[in-house]
């Protein structure tokens, strides 16, 4: 081929490149990058399990284990019919009248928590194990019943208000915690593994060799995260609402915003953790060492307040603590965004600092 034609060919092609091509938005590089990210995720069965099934199993298991039961009725034994009659006035006691020998046997084998026997001079003797909470409770209930039957009047009248409505049970506390933990886990794992895998396989290098704008590559992770977020949050909250009636007292829109903000912060943290690592082992170690402490101290399963006061400022500055606190305030106390401003500030700070650092450190090859 002669030079002249070669150059005019190039010019013609160059002109074609400059004329904008009509194409669907689905062919936009960002849409394509996000789409393949999404495909890669849903074609990974393990990831599906950890993100969608695991939190449900965990919530179901813990919800059942810690479900609120009506106060137990305690079994006790009485030796005489008079005593048994007095004791039956107490509804929380299940009284059996037994001969002495059988009653002693029942107490020893734990079939009854307490044995009430007549003592000298019209007194009553209670036999029970005081290291057993059931025994101590039975002692109080039995004595109250005996004293009342003998004519004692309570000088102060009291009424009970029972706290069994949704919003104050353990499962209500747990669901926002699991939601926060899930947001953190999926964002950090999602970012970390995918980025390091692309780097390890030199796929990232190959993409950088195309005209793809680099920030699209990072942005596609964030966008695919948002798509999956809808499902993740929906699964956990839907399960909580349907299976246990966990309430969402705050505005749903606020809750969505909080989830998005939390997910972005965790994604930025994941990006930072994955910014240098060349192997999956290295990034796994990093991710676990960052997430493990937060699982423990940030109040997923029990209140972060249980840790000593001097540790509280540090614990409160952790992104998972901020996320879970904000989610609980919204869901359980109906707090507005203004009321969770400090938690949002913490999340925002993590987002900005981690993202800026990650961009500075990121290894593209």
């Amino acid at each position: 081929m002669s030079n002249v034609t070669a150059i005019s060919d190039l010019e013609a092609k160059e002109a074609a490149r400059k004329t904008p091509r009509p194409s669907a938005w689905t062919d936009h590089p960002l849409a394509q990058l996000t789409w393949v990210r999404f495909l890669e995720f849903i074609r990974e069965p393990e990831a599906l399990f950890w993100v969608f099934i695991f939190p449900i199993l965990l919530a179901a298991g813990l919800g059942i284990a810690f479900r609120n039961r009506p106060a137990d009725v305690l079994k006790i034994a009485a030796i005489t019919p008079q005593l048994a009659q007095s004791l039956r006035q107490e509804k929380l006691l299940d009284v059996s009248q037994l001969p002495t020998g059988a009653a002693e046997e029942a107490l020893r084998t734990g079939k009854v928590a307490l044995l009430a026997a007549p003592g000298p001079g019209g007194s009553v003797v209670y036999k029970y194990d005081d290291t057993n909470p059931e025994g101590r409770t039975a002692r109080m209930l039995a004595d109250r019943a005996v004293q009342r039957a003998a004519g004692r009047a309570d000088p102060v009248t009291s009424t009970d208000q029972l706290m069994r409505e949704p919003g104050s049970r353990y499962i209500d506390f747990l669901i926002p915690g699991l939601l926060g933990m899930n947001l953190m886990g999926s964002a950090i794992w999602g970012m970390g593994f995918a980025i390091v895998d692309a780097r390890r396989k030199k796929l990232m290098k190959r993409l950088v060799a195309t005209p793809m704008p680099r920030h699209y590559f990072l942005l596609s992770f964030v966008l695919s995260r948002l798509v999956l977020l809808v499902v993740e949050v929906g699964v956990v909250l839907g399960f909580g609402a349907v299976a246990f009636g966990v309430p969402i007292r705050g505005s749903i829109l606020d809750l969505v915003l909080l989830c998005v903000l939390a997910s972005m912060s965790f994604s930025a943290l994941g990006l930072l953790l994955a910014s240098r690592a060349r192997t999956i082992e290295a990034v796994s170690g990093l991710m676990n060492s960052v997430m493990m402490p937060m699982w423990i101290v940030s109040g997923v399963f029990f209140s972060a307040q249980r840790f000593p006061d001097f540790a509280q400022p540090v614990i409160k500055a952790l992104p998972l603590t901020a996320a879970i606190d904000a989610l609980r305030l919204n869901m359980l106390q109906g707090a507005s965004l203004r009321q969770v401003a400090s938690q949002m500030g913490v999340l925002g700070l993590w987002l900005v600092v981690c993202f800026a650092l990650a961009l500075k450190l990121f290894r593209w090859r």
């Binding site: 490149r17 091509r21 936009h28 590089p29 890669e40 030199k202």
Partner: protein, 309 residues
Amino acid sequence: MAAALEVHNLRKAYRDVVAVDGLDLRVRLGECFGLLGPNGAGKTTTIEICEGLIAADSGEVEMLGMRWESDAGGLRQRLGIQLQDTQLSEKLTVFETVRLFRSFYHAGPSAAEAIALVQLEEKQKARVGTLSGGQKQRLAMACALVGDPDFLFLDEPTTGLDPQARRQLWDLIEEFKLAGRTILLTTHYMDEAERLCDRVAIMDHGKIIALGTPRELIASIGVEHVVEFSAGVASRALAVSALHEIEGVRDVKAENGSVQLQVTELHRAVPALLAELDRQGLPLTELRTHSASLEDVFVTLTGRRLRDE
């Protein structure tokens, strides 16, 4: 001739090694240029600097009249790149992969057309993880072609492939040549370079030690044929010095009981060799001849074989 790529005094050192040591290179528009050399010669570093993937310590690179410092975006649109051992995502299908790469370029064939170019139509819906080595390499080629590049970089395109897959890939590369694209190819297979390249540069220790058409380079060592043979028995060794006296023998190398003669005229040298062995009373146990190749050029220039490292 217009230059598609002009490299001047390129240098790149890693912590303890100088990978590219003052390299000059000029690739003409529309030619297929081969960069040859053993592993570690600096081929990949050179090509990756030209591709804008790593920065040189010093030196200049100008491609298609543009430079990385000022026209990176425009340049990327016009390059097709196939990297050594890139693993494309195994969970995506062939079509999804090519479509993704297509989205980065302003112009070029559609994803389906690019797949047809590399004859992977039947595998369009197959996951990348299920492809054979040759198919994966062809997919990589499709990804390099979706932007309708003017300049194609192929870094060791057939390394690790079986002979049939290599031949298929060669046919493909020959088609690109016919389409008028400029190609820069690295390889350590000399037969590949001889078959595909219009001109080759042989690299060693970060420098170009020879440059020309494969024919010129082979001619430059003044040898047309190589005769390899083994002769003699353990008790009586061959008198190697006598071989130098045979007409047309340029060089004699003896190693591990086998002798290599570089000769100009095969039809004179072989009968003379047989006569000499006969005179010494030694039986011939093995005899091979081949036309001088780029491999012989490399051996002559460096005293080493290409694939020893």
